[in-house]
């Protein structure tokens, strides 16, 4: 008990030190907190790794993340790293707050239009195609190697061609996203539909269940873990596809446009703020899908409480 208290106290002190350190040093005594912080942080991390509680499992990465940001800030300011190489996090935070309107419009263009539209079209097409070819082993055997081959290809490269077809605005980006997401969904749904066991399918047959009954009551629920895998994989792919497709040309808004133009104009603080928005959007949509997965596939062994 006291051991745990010491650990948490150390973590708290480390955080306190990180928040309070300043680098405009006027007195040699002010070096002490700067030197003390990494030691305190490391000690707290080592102690936390020994803990078994849930809180310590969350605290370790959070503390580590704070440590990285702190070290980043200190190195940037202390070593006078040029702004065009790596802006300090404080400057990124200021840029984020100052450009909220612009970042919001970029988010609207890239995420709410290109990503969402492309994601729905791509995942929907992949899912429906998998259902359609499910009854034909010939099509399945033919499409699986081709789909695997497609997943290895650099599909974002098709962006200039979709721009030629669908124009500069978001539909061309949505097309890239749709193409990128369709094959993972197809392959995973197809594999998922094979997941139900022979025993269960025999049981359904003994009930006299039709193909559709078996599909809806047994095979689709059994396929859900694989389908959610594809949904999670695709949420990242979709964002990457939309951002990278904008590097090839876009109207004057969008996260990819912002990143490429502002890095050419050396405004790296705005670039980092945009990356922060993209990371936040990616993380939140991933979390949303993971939450849906937990709700739908609660029966899967990977969600069982771990035995200690």
């Amino acid at each position: 008990m006291t051991q745990a208290r010491i650990t948490w106290l150390g973590a708290f002190v480390a955080c306190l030190l990180m928040v309070t350190t300043r680098l405009n040093i006027s007195h040699p005594f002010e070096w002490v907190p700067i030197a003390l912080t990494p030691l305190c942080l490391l000690a707290a991390l080592v102690r936390l790794a020994g803990e078994k509680t849930r809180a310590s499992r969350i605290a370790s990465p959070v503390l580590f993340g704070f440590g990285i940001i702190w070290a980043w800030e200190m190195l940037c300011v202390g070593l006078h790293v040029p702004f065009i190489l790596l802006p300090p996090p404080s400057a990124v935070a200021v840029a984020f707050v100052n450009n909220l309107g612009m970042l919001g419009s970029d988010f609207d263009q890239t995420f709410l239009h290109s990503v969402i539209a492309g994601y729905i079209i791509g995942c929907g097409t992949g899912f429906l195609t998998a259902l359609a070819i499910d009854r034909s082993p010939f099509l399945q055997r033919g499409l699986t190697p081709l789909a695997n081959m497609f997943s290895a290809m650099p599909i974002v490269g098709i962006a200039p061609i979709t721009i030629m077809w669908f124009g500069f605005d978001w539909p061309s980006k949505a097309a890239v996203v749709a193409l990128m997401t369709v094959f993972p969904m197809l392959v995973n749904t197809q594999a998922g539909l094979q997941e139900s066991g022979i025993m269960e399918r025999d049981l359904m047959r003994s009930y006299g269940a039709s193909y559709w009954h078996t599909l809806i009551k047994l095979r689709l629920p059994a396929a859900m873990p694989m389908i959610f895998n594809a949904l999670k994989l695709n949420s990242t792919l979709a964002l990457i596809g939309a951002v990278v497709a904008e590097f090839f040309g876009t109207p004057t808004r969008g996260m990819g446009f912002r990143i490429s133009t502002e890095s050419a104009r050396m405004n790296l603080d705005i670039v980092w703020a945009t990356i922060f928005v993209a990371a936040l959007a990616g993380g939140l949509s991933f979390a949303l899908i993971a939450w849906g997965e937990r709700a739908v596939t609660f029966w899967h062994p990977s969600f069982h409480k771990r035995q200690t």
Binding site: S60, P160, F286
Partner: protein
């Protein structure tokens, strides 16, 4: 703990359901394996030609010689052989590629082989970098609780972040301190390919079960010995699937890394230049070669996997 991606599930044993892989010993089995993809591929190519006709037809009619023949086949031929088609036909793409490869010297920037070599160089350098870093980090995570607890969640969280988006910034930032050419591209590719390898290898190094680890302990094996004699050989079953994912990412990364430098060399640069100047054939050629490069590299990984599997008597 969330479920692992599909490529990380233990791949060492052939699935019973997979009838195609067990029946490849005779000629009939081989045909059954090759025939369906071949039929579908042929169908797709036929659809491609029809689509090329439908998409190019309006422009083809507008460009046709008014005095020449105007029957159906003339229109079809015209729409299949346009200079700047909306959708070029496969044979146009291939003849264009062959033209650029055989009719220009190897060091000419119009030769696509030179561009492919640039991209492949960046991709392979970065991949080697990413593989070494990823395996080292995975070994660290497996052996250190502190690293496991504090870094692993970030490695997993980083998968949800569009890493590729920072490529232009890395190129510009590294360019400012004098790194141009191969270095920034390799850095981006390395950064991209290192994540799947880390995640896969952590799983691989942890995959020996308690019985096997206990056996090593009864031999009084040191941690280094357990690593080299048990963890490393066992992890090979996870290295190859991770490498396949990393290869796909590496090619994409190498292409995207070429965009912000102002389209000088490489397949990505060709794509961008084709996009600027409306050169449809240039874009398609670059795209086809990039895909071929990816397929070749994946094939090399598969070949390595096959040789290792054979030398271990049929399983990894």
């Amino acid at each position: 703990m969330a479920k692992s991606p599909k490529f990380l599930s233990r791949p060492s044993f052939p699935r019973k359901r997979d009838s195609s892989s067990t029946a490849t010993t005779n000629a009939y089995g081989a045909a059954a394996k090759i025939l369906p993809p071949a039929v579908i591929l042929t169908t797709l190519i036929i659809i491609w030609y029809i689509a090329a006709y439908l998409l190019n037809e309006p422009q083809a009619i507008a460009l046709m010689d008014p005095d020449g023949p105007t029957n159906f086949w003339a229109v079809v031929n015209a729409s299949w052989s346009m200079d700047r088609p909306v959708l070029p036909t496969p044979d146009q793409i291939l003849s264009n590629l062959a033209d650029s490869i055989f009719n220009y010297p190897l060091d000419s920037p119009r030769n696509f082989l030179l561009q492919t070599a640039y991209t492949a160089q960046a991709a392979l350098t970065g991949l080697a970098l990413g593989a070494v870093l990823g395996i080292a980090l995975a070994a660290g995570i497996v052996h250190s609780r502190v690293l496991d607890r504090s870094i692993m969640p970030w490695v997993i969280a980083s998968q949800t972040i569009p890493i590729l988006a920072i490529a232009p910034m890395v190129v510009v930032a590294l360019g400012n301190i004098g790194f141009t050419g191969l270095a920034p591209k390799a850095a981006i590719v390395g950064y991209l390919s290192f994540f799947p390898i880390t995640v896969g290898m952590v799983k691989g190094f942890r995959s020996p079960d308690t019985m096997q680890l206990d056996l090593m302990r009864t031999y009084n094996a040191s941690r280094a010995q357990i690593f080299t004699k048990l963890r490393w050989p066992v992890s090979m079953a996870f290295l190859f699937p991770s490498l396949k994912v990393a290869v796909a990412l590496a090619i994409t990364g190498a292409i995207v890394a070429e965009l912000p430098t102002g389209a000088q060399v490489g397949l990505g640069a060709r794509l961008l230049a084709g996009s600027y100047y409306g050169q449809t054939m240039m874009m398609w050629g670059a795209l086809v070669l990039a895909s071929l490069l990816a397929i070749t590299l994946i094939f090399c990984v598969r070949l390595g996997e096959f040789f290792l599997r054979t030398s271990r008597g049929g399983r990894l």
